[in-house]
Amino acid sequence: MKRTPLAIGLLATALVLTACTAPTTESTAATEEQPGYLAVADPSLATGGDLSVQLDYDSVEANGLDPQTATTARSWTLMGLVYDTLVTVGPDFSIEPGLATSWDTPSDTEYVFTLRDDAVFSNGRPMTADDVVGSLQRLLDSKSDWSLQLGQVSSVQATGGNEVTVTLAAPYTSFLGALANTPAAILPMTEIADGSVDITTTMLGTGPYVVQDHVQDQSWTFGPNEHYYGAATRGPESVAVDIVTEENTRLAAIRDGSADYAFFNNVDALDLLGGTENARVVNQQNTDFYYLIINSQNPDSPLADQKVRFAINSALDRQEISDIALAGQALPTGVTPATLPGACPAADLPSEKPTTDEIKQALADAGAEDLDLTITLYNTEPALAQIAQVMQQELAAVGVNLTIENLDIGSFVDKIYSSSPSDIDLALSWYAGYGDAAMVSKWWNGDVSTFTAGFKANDPAQNALQVAAGSEPAGAERDATMVELCASVDESSELVPLVTRPGVIGYRTDSLSPTINTNEGYGSVLRDIVDYRMIDAG
């Protein structure tokens, strides 16, 4: 679709406004200091110092502090300060060494990792190959979300003093990407086995920091891990994380300098902080994206008809949703997150083609004129209500009347997942996009993600495409598979990817020199923290 007059009008006004107003210096989204980085810490500055961070919510997990079953990006961020993974993600989602200094792939199902010999847990015990084997095995046994992302592993073995070999049942391109996230962290397996550490209440890792104090929903205090292998080049000596729910309070903290670094959920923070002296604010693109559920599983609903669902999908203008609901900072996306290498171009999706008249005709042909539908969302993610209101306008243009139902998260989950078929027409939410273009599409594979059964059909052809996208090696052939997968998801119009979910980071330039990557796959807003430098440290 299909520039509406509305969008054209907006564009025109925006152009006029841009021409008239002086640009706010530091608030432009894509100013990179280096390719792949919005900011790069000044290495000439001394290490040490105390970093003060404000985040919008705390980690809350069913299994407390156990990283392997952690499900939210916030948990990955905070636990990632204490735990290390075998590999990490660099700029543009390249895989870089972590606790493994290098790896070989003798075949497309075999990975041989060479481990660091200087990694030591914060209790002073050196990490061994057994810790690595035990951790990965424990993760696979946990049947957690992340064990699904690890793919089909047939064996994990120590094949030398500091060598570990993982054998896969089938080729799986996303394997290293999955290993790079905090749930694949290396745990102190000896201590877990002998019961001296309860991993759900204590964090004991090989990473740069140790937890000194945690008050749920209020604050974290991290001190240095004296045994960290990179201690010599670790930036801040300590990190104080305050959980500050109100966006206004975090904005104030960056304005008055009471925090060095803060995360914002509202893209308008770019504007609200723009022009603040000694502060810089950047829009960090994520692979996370918002999606729309169009429930196909209720046989009495007109939405059981694919033509109706596709017409509704076609009536949505992803660029307009970004422009109006997300201040133009989000990117239209298909099921492969637009910010990842090899993603399918969202502009080529089948639903982008029909004109308004064709959509109306399709709805009329399906006997679905003057539809009354309800869209269900939850109130802790303010952007959802904004997106829903734009959709409401777009759908009104093709004769669909949309009612918005904005619930609290408990009622939302209950409504969607407690019955089959699901008790909804449409619903909005978002998925984390991870570090490889095929990873998140697992949630579209009905064989893997049984939780979507209440509103999405299990389509063997789509599942096969998803598996193919995950197993083909990176390259033109895989890219073509991704385009096919995107088209299939778009055609079925049951779980429709919309636009990426950007995040905004603000920091004080007079106290902090951080390293911030342009694209983030795991919502880890403190990813490169060991590289940060405090201006007045040392």
């Binding site: 049947k143 008050v215 109100e246 304005r255 008055d256 998260i409």
Partner: protein
């Protein structure tokens, strides 16, 4: 003592209210759609994980059984465990209570220091006078500005411009009393505005009501000084509605000023309860509401006893016959 005649009945009534609220809140919490498992485990959770969670917190038992278990352990001082932090609810409340108390003390202190004198002043001026009209107008505006408007404006002003006080970074009085006051003063003042205004209005009305009583006229006829009359005749007799109001406001403040705590990011009891509600942290919501009710009931009893002591006629006439 006439007090002894009606006190047992009042205590029984208070107990009935407490039991009623405990049943009410328990039932309300259980009828919320979705549970902790939905909120925390989210859409990707397995049925096994949910069952394990339910068992861990006794949610697999029948509802009456759960209620009895809760009440029985609450009587022993055990209010259950927060599912979010996995800490005892009493610990969670203990860490947040000082902040709510701090806000309440600031607001009530300002109310007593400003609201009551303002009410006496406007009440003892002639009704048509300029000061009286001004006083009425100020207190009318005071009760007409909602907390969420005032709080938002104050947050904006103090976070946008350097006005000496900072929003956020709240320090608990339990950690550092001196450091906590500057961080609590802004939300405290916002809470106080409504309390001051309503207290001033009630005081004014009460004073006006007493001034027309015959015994005040008699005192004037006896030639007693104006200050003496106000202190000895007027305030003593006007104190009952003022006391009632201040007690109600105190109970309200201790129940947690949800909106002010939320807007100012004060991690007190009120904002905690709202958060717990969103997460379906059952034990926290139930016990929090019960605690607020206990405070309210105790304050009310206290007022009744004090009222009885100040003016025995009132307590019998008002309560004794049909409490």
């Amino acid at each position: 003592m006439r007090l002894l005649l009606w006190l047992p009945g009042r205590l029984l009534g208070a107990l009935v209210v407490l039991v009623g609220v405990s049943i009410l809140i328990f039932a309300a919490v259980r009828s919320l759609p979705g549970g902790y498992a939905d909120v925390i485990l989210g859409s990707l959770s397995s049925p096994e994980a949910r069952a394990a969670l339910a068992e861990q917190y006794g949610l697999d038992k029948s509802i009456p059984e759960q209620y009895l278990l809760w009440v029985l352990s609450a009587l022993r001082g055990d209010f259950g465990t927060s599912m979010v932090s996995q800490l005892p609810v009493t610990d969670e409340f203990a860490s947040r209570l000082p902040l709510t108390l701090g806000l309440g003390v600031i607001a009530i202190a300002l109310t007593v220091l400003i609201g009551i004198p303002l009410g006496v002043y406007t009440g003892t001026r002639s009704t048509g006078g300029r000061s009286s009209v001004l006083g009425r107008l100020v207190s009318s505006i005071g009760i007409s500005v909602p907390e969420f408007v005032l709080a938002s404006v104050i947050v904006f002003l103090f976070s946008r411009f350097a006005l000496g006080l900072r929003v956020g970074n709240v320090v608990s009085p339990a950690t550092d009393l001196a450091a906590s006051i500057p961080t609590l003063i802004l939300p405290g003042v916002v809470l106080a505005v409504f309390c001051i205004a309503s207290t001033a209005r009630t005081t004014r009305d009460a004073v006006l009501g007493v001034l027309v009583e015959p015994h005040v006229g008699a005192a004037v006829a006896r030639g007693e000084s104006k200050g003496f009359i106000i202190r000895h005749h007027v305030l003593r007799n006007a104190s009952i509605p003022i006391l009632t109001l201040v007690a109600t406001l105190t109970a309200y403040l201790l129940g947690g000023a949800v909106i002010v705590e939320t807007v100012f990011d004060v991690p007190g009891l009120g904002s905690y309860l709202v958060q717990a509600l969103g997460r379906r942290d059952y034990a926290v919501i139930q016990s929090g509401v019960l605690l607020a009710t206990v405070v309210f009931v105790v304050m009310s009893l206290l007022v009744d006893v004090l009222t009885g002591l100040i003016d025995p006629r009132v307590s019998v006439a008002k309560k004794g016959r049909w409490a």
